[in-house]
């Protein structure tokens, strides 16, 4: 049996992180009214070498690229690789996602665009969705409060700012609590996924005398043992399900772990990046965070941090809605209202005159 699955995964996860270039990546989508998108990817590295297999989002030879460098106060050089491409519609982006061979190729990602005519305004909606990795139901909202989740979804830079800001104590405490809750949620998700894999593979095993429902009832105990036994699966299973179960299903348990390992690869191997979306017109709603920039601060983008943690138990929907005024409908409405009011005024005047 695979002992210390978590620790093994941690090692593999870390090695995966180390072996790939640490490209800090920012993806900027500028959405146009006709549904076309100008996509810009900015990558930052300590070396002037950018390997396509380490790219967080698909970038290929069809993109216009430039490389520049910055030297900071400590005389450290940082290389910036900027790639830009115009997409006629979201389907072209989705096509690139499907053929992605980069660091996040295992993620199931897609972009959506829609526009709705609402008379006074036209509502534009753009979203990028990353499908959840777990095949079982294990929502983070069942374990963490709304406020904690909002904090978790914040980009790391902002989290650090909050932790060193005026409410530092509050946010530090929240971060600590969140870590504990996150650990509990993560382990529950792993145990639930393992149970699912185990019963999918061996539900008709002749010696299996414990039902899936009974196993699900033991889930909190397994999670508890995982925490207490230093993420040692062997000890946890022996403690909760008994030595006999472990001895009888040693190989099956191992197989279920292997299947789960394969299923969770997109989560463990996910490489983080920042997504930013600029919309036409005025932004009126979003699941991200508003960021204003430019000298006049009137340019507004919406940003999200993209990390494996966010799409383990539920799909990560990065959506933004904006409105564009339909000037012609405003003019038509104004003319119509004036017309109706005038009609009524004329009518009432006539009535008064005739009665008088």
């Amino acid at each position: 049996m695979k002992k210390h699955y978590i620790i093994s995964i941690m090692m593999i996860s870390m090695i995966w992180l180390f072996s790939c270039g640490g490209y800090e990546t920012r993806v900027i989508n500028t959405i146009h009214q006709d549904g076309s998108i100008t996509r810009k990817v900015i990558m930052k590295n300590d070396e002037p070498e950018f390997l396509s297999e380490n790219f967080r989002v698909p970038v290929d030879s069809t993109w216009q690229t430039t490389m520049t460098f910055e030297i900071n106060e400590d005389q450290d050089t940082t290389w910036l690789y900027t790639a830009e491409k115009y997409f006629a519609d979201v389907e072209e982006i989705n096509h690139e996602y499907q053929n992605d061979a980069g660091a996040n190729a295992k993620l199931s990602r897609r972009a959506k665009f829609s526009k709705k005519f609402k008379w006074f305004y036209t509502i534009y909606r753009f979203s990028e969705v990353i499908d959840k990795v777990l095949t079982v139901d294990c929502k983070p909202s069942d374990y963490m409060s709304e406020e904690e989740l909002s904090y978790m979804y914040l980009p790391g830079e902002i989290q650090e700012e909050l932790k060193s800001g005026p409410d530092s104590l509050y946010y530090k405490t929240m971060a600590d609590t969140l870590e504990i809750k996150f650990e509990r949620w993560l382990l529950t998700g792993l145990v639930r996924q393992w149970t699912e894999s185990f019963y999918e593979l061996f539900h008709d095993h002749p010696n299996l005398d414990i039902t899936k429902e009974e196993m699900r009832k033991k889930e909190p105990h397994l999670v508890e043992r995982f925490v207490l036994d230093d993420a040692d699966e062997e000890e946890a299973i022996k403690n909760v399900l008994g030595n006999e179960f472990y001895e009888n299903f040693n190989t099956e348990i191992d197989s279920a772990f292997s299947v789960m390992d394969e299923q969770l690869k997109p989560f463990w191997e996910a490489k983080e990046y920042t997504l930013e979306i600029h919309m036409p017109g005025q932004i009126m709603g979003s699941s991200g965070y508003v960021k204003s920039y430019g000298e006049s601060k009137d340019e507004v983008g919406i940003i999200w941090a993209v990390q494996g943690d966010f799409f383990l138990g539920q799909s990560y929907d990065m959506w933004v809605e904006s409105k564009v005024l339909n000037y012609w409908t405003w003019i038509i409405t104004a003319i119509f209202l004036i017309f109706v009011i005038t009609g009524y005024v004329i009518s009432s005047r006539k009535s008064n005159r005739t009665r008088g």
């Binding site: 941690m10 996860s13 640490g22 989290q159 983080e272 990390q307 009609g343 005739t354």
Partner: protein, 184 residues
Amino acid sequence: MNKKDAYSKLVTRFKSVVPPLENKEQIIDYVMNHIESKNREPGRFIRLLDLLFGWVHVIWLRRAMAVTAICLIILFTGQQFLLMQRLTKLENQIIKSVESESVIEDGPGMKQQVLMNLMFERPASGDSITLSREEFEALLKAYILDRPDALSDPPYPLEDPSLKRFFRKNLREQTDQDDLKSKI
């Protein structure tokens, strides 16, 4: 009683009975408009007005126009109200203003932090083995070199700047703790 008296009585009786009018307003409007249009001089402006606002004399059309106007006002007010609500919510999501399109430097996610905690902060009972940063790096390097799919020229393990910072911070925090300081 002669015929004349009978006729007078009938007329008086008819006069005393007022027939009920269901569309009194409409009849008055119609008669008055008819009289007015006969009396006034026909002009281009009047004709245009009649053409434009003739609908005010048609009750169902007048009502339809009023309902449409009210609906438009309600739609406008409703949309503005919803918009205000959504914008107020959005204002709470404003995080910062920056001057340039710089790349945001992210730290490692919760996943890495939890895994690191499992590795560093929860030694098994009775186990006094702890890892220093150098030892951990050496371990990872050895692990990479030992893998069958290891790269011919493996990169330095801690080349990721965000992870470098994370390790540095994590180890610094631990070395600040007296009980761990002696171990490390």
